[in-house]
Amino acid sequence: MTPAANLALESARRPETLKRVAIEPVTRVEGHGKVTLLLDAENRVQQARLHIVEFRGFEKFIQGRPYWEVPVLVQRLCGICPVSHHLAATKALDRVVGAPKLTPTAEKLRRLLHYGQTLQSHALHFFHLASPDLLFGWDAEPGRRNVVGVIEAHPEIALKGVRLRRFGQEVIRVLSGKRVHGVFAVPGGVQKHLARTDRDLLLKDIGQALLWCREAVGIARRLYLEDREENERFGAFHSNFVGLTAPDGCFELYEGGLRARDAKGGTIFDQVDPSHYLRHLHEEVKSWSYMKFPFIVALGNDEGWYRVGPLARVNNADRMPTPLAEEARADFRKLSEGPVQATMAYHWARMIEMLCAAELIRQLLEDPDLLEGDLLRGGERVPEGVGVIEAPRGTLIHHYRVDENDAIEKANLIVSTTHNNTAMNTAVREVAARYLSGHELTEGLLNRIEVAIRAYDPCLSCATHALGRMPLEVDLVDADGNRVSRIRRDGDGSIG
């Protein structure tokens, strides 16, 4: 499908003449989402949209709050990777308190926290959510396609997932006090050292975790290559990629410059100071979604959209910082001469990152700086700060202005999933056109739309697979709004 043909499916010319099909809820992407399709009389897809239907108003209600409350408040945006918001906000406020560069101890401790989160979130996504689709196939009996099904069919795989996630969560707990919404970072540093007993606790398990991460890369690789042709075609399109890299081009999750590469791997910009993000990235509002559509300013909103997250980061990095992950990256990049474009390759890239996180955790656990040294730094106050971090799902931007009374005056956030908004919509249109268009709707066809969205790891899809299969109901409605037919897939996977 050409990019123009794909884009044409964003808005049908005469929507009032078409049948509406709603997939609701499809999955939640930092909130509630649904897909609507408009079909003509021959069931050909004329329009396909992923709508984000939740709105919080955070940027407004944060105004007037003391700035030190922010790292605690913002993590409640997302319980799946609260550490990302906690750290991105604190990084922005480091600048406000005049400490853009932390003490070595503080920076290393924050990195440990961040890598723990990368590990737990990636494990959750791959094992609890995505693995049922990947292990059983898109057309498998839907009742099996959930984590309970994986536990029954492949207990050795499922249990490793549960334990890897636990390890990552334990890293978070020992530093921040609890697994979800703990507090560790403060503007200018962190609150405490890693206790020796906690270090020993983690050291005891890191070897095993590392081993399982290697196995996970192997599983993701095997599943991709076993059906390479289909995986390359599914939800496929070319895009630009954006993410942080270290000054030398090395893979980086915590601190670096922004790099944007085009679909062929050519540089659009590189090592941009994240504080200048507004010169390079803007967001477009569309009336049918609460999630905005970011794009690279120099390329404009039609050409300038891009992808973030594991695939973008592994594509953009010149190398990985650790030996096993670097080996895995080199192997992965053999898939294609330029950047790897396949939507389904996200899973493989995600596992390479998880392995990298485990290696980085091991390095840090052996570093005496985490046990002692200065925790806090301060400097000259400035009114404004930007904090950018690579969250599990991609680049996360927090931007605050603070007034002379220490109150927040202005806030701007671009969360990871937002960057992928156009990409997810493009994938939905591609899958709808290729697999659904002109066919009778079946459960297996509908599942393909979810599979495409899920590759981008939208935040709230977790429980879809973790706690039983998501029921799905699709109504076929004629132009007058009368229901023509209904397909229903229940919680146990049966179709009625």
Binding site: F55, G57, K60, G79, W288, N301, T464, L467
Partner: protein, 180 residues
């Protein structure tokens, strides 16, 4: 096997952290699956609970018309309804927007946002109507139990669920009642 406790869960205006805390039972989840059967996922619409559930766990407060509809249906399909976490119990952090008008919040994000182009407030009929105020569950439906915390600790879920399965009073012991 004895009939398992049928549990449905859903997330309204919450961050999903409460569901994550439930997953933080780790290996205990496997034991839980022997006595508990999850009927509907957090993403479920209530129509999809096929027969009444014994227990409904609801995360998040109520911020739009869709939440109201889902919550009412959830209530009518669950024998016992539990407000899980601060958001469900008080409205939580999302209810901080109650100090502003809805218009102010929408304008800040979509009109006054930095780097925002084609600035306008999304208004497509596919997007649910926002309520003027974010509300806790008990403003809309009867709530039988409250699990405090943001999120409640995994042990709180464990205590509550295993007590219910055993037919005992599920009230939390003092040390599990935490609000952070």
């Amino acid at each position: 096997m004895a009939e398992r406790l049928r549990v449905a869960t859903c997330s309204l205006a919450g961050c999903f952290g409460c569901h994550m805390s439930l997953l933080d039972l780790d290996e205990r989840l496997l034991g839980l699956l022997e006595v508990v059967e999850f009927d509907a996922s957090p993403l479920n619409d209530l129509k999809r609970i096929r027969r009444p559930a014994d227990l409904g766990l609801v995360e998040g407060g109520v911020c739009n018309a869709e939440n109201v509809r889902v919550l009412r249906e959830f209530r009518s399909h669950c024998r016992v309804l539990v407000a899980v976490g601060e958001c469900a119990i008080t409205g939580g952090i999302p209810s901080m927007r109650n100090g502003f008008t809805l218009k102010q919040c929408l304008e800040e994000a979509f009109i006054r946002g930095q780097g925002t182009e084609n600035a306008h407030i999304p208004d497509d009929p596919e997007i649910p109507l926002l309520l003027n105020k974010v509300r806790p569950l008990h403003h809309i439906v009867k709530v039988d139990h409250y699990l405090p915390g943001c999120p409640p600790a995994p042990d709180a879920f464990w205590h509550f669920l295993t007590a219910l399965v055993a037919g005992q009073d599920p009230s939390l012991p003092k040390e599990l009642i935490r609000f952070d």
